[in-house]
Symmetry: C2
């Protein structure tokens, strides 16, 4: 018996797990760093990393270290976040102009929400922040908006890890279930200090046909009333949904 790790995972999947080693704080890694961070023996990392380089998802720099490759970006250009960013931007700007609050769009990615774009609500000059951040599903407005319309399988998984982030975070699966049902009914996901104290948020799902493909959200100080923002937010989400449907039809009928 020589093999240790192999718990029935496929080789290709194990190779892809090496990509977990890369994040905002770790853009450039040596091979042994990748091995350590991904929890695999160096000999294995050596071979699988070579495959990723051959597939050009990872690039080897002149100094021998590794970084995410240009092809990853290229393929990413074909993905939903890229399309969303382009189609959603003008509508987000309208929303920010109207409400004055920070707005963002997110999509579901695994057990998390991936922020695709964000526009800050400083009335003077709307600045665009670095997208690419990840939000928890259970304690953010956009996260709950996405979770409410996700597969039962994913919901079940998410309900098993309701980590308290603030004293207001919902940690009881049954309470969350009730709230998700309410969100499905009203198509409106609130978050009062669940992710950050003194901050309130509001999320709305974006429909492309019958399916939710994204969520738009607003963030505001606790004392600000988001009551008047509800309707603009819903219109924004509807407009983005319509723009996406348009875009897909245009590409299909090409």
């Amino acid at each position: 018996m020589v093999v240790r790790s192999a718990p029935g995972e496929s080789v290709a999947f194990r190779a892809l797990r090496l990509l977990d080693a890369f994040d905002e704080q770790h853009r450039v890694l040596s091979m042994s760093e990748v091995a350590r961070r991904a929890g695999v023996p160096v000999a294995t990392a050596h071979r699988r990393l070579q495959d990723l380089v051959d597939g050009r998802l990872v690039a080897r720099r002149p100094d021998g270290r590794f970084e995410v490759g240009a092809r990853m970006w290229h393929l990413g250009q074909l993905s939903r976040p890229t399309a969303l960013r382009e189609t959603a931007l003008p509508h987000l700007q309208d929303l920010v102009a109207f409400t004055g609050h920070t707005a963002h769009v997110a999509v579901l990615d695994g057990i998390g929400a991936l922020v695709v774009d964000r526009i800050s609500g400083s009335r003077t000059l709307p600045t665009r922040h670095q997208p690419g951040g990840r939000l928890e599903l259970h304690c953010t407005a956009v996260g709950k908006a996405l979770l409410a319309f996700a597969d039962e399988q994913l919901v079940a998984q998410a309900l098993q890890m309701l980590a308290p982030v603030t004293p207001y975070t919902i940690t009881d699966p049954r309470v969350m279930r009730t709230q998700l049902a309410e969100i499905r009914r009203t198509r409106l996901a609130p978050s009062r200090q669940e992710h950050r104290v003194s901050t309130t948020g509001l999320g709305v799902p974006v429909f492309s046909g019958r399916h939710v493909v994204a969520a738009v959200g607003l963030v505001a100080p606790l004392d600000a009333s988001l009551r008047t923002a509800v309707e603009p937010l819903q219109r924004c989400a509807a407009a983005i949904g319509a723009a996406i449907v348009d875009r897909e039809r245009r590409l299909d009928g090409d």
Copy 2:
């Protein structure tokens, strides 16, 4: 004897080759389309595609078809093209403002140049140099600027496939070698109608330290003289290079 294809390629690499099936015209594919386009049996595509979905580089839509996943975009945010786009943008704008011609930045990706960003000038010329587009190395200005500083291995490979795109395209490997040496010396890559008739281009490599990490290029009608654009173009490339070095130092010293 049951196995046919296996020519000694690793499993992980073969899985990544399925990604070749996706491009601008084929963003959403059924499993059998992927299998056909990638040239693998459906049974194999079925399993490897599942791995890619598990690794979230590919997503399965409600209708059962596949598309590039959000995580590909997320990881792509960590790659050089993303960083380049941000750091190069202001300098590109200066360049366009000064010259009036369309400017673009590209990086090397495999045996091709990947256009990372493009800004059209007032004297706009419709080009194929769109962000996310791929350009041949041997017949475009930025392509030659990149090729001139690439590994000998890649150069040799590129010289074996000098396809004539216009009557002016260089197809003789020895002529190309000479020109590449000249480009290395002058750090200036011209392209007169080699990619498209009636169009001329000028490319300059971008150095980060001692290595070329990108190339900046201008495209103009044949009758426009790019003589006066040479110096601004070189300054632009130098400024981008400096900005990249700055950025890396900032991230390293974090």
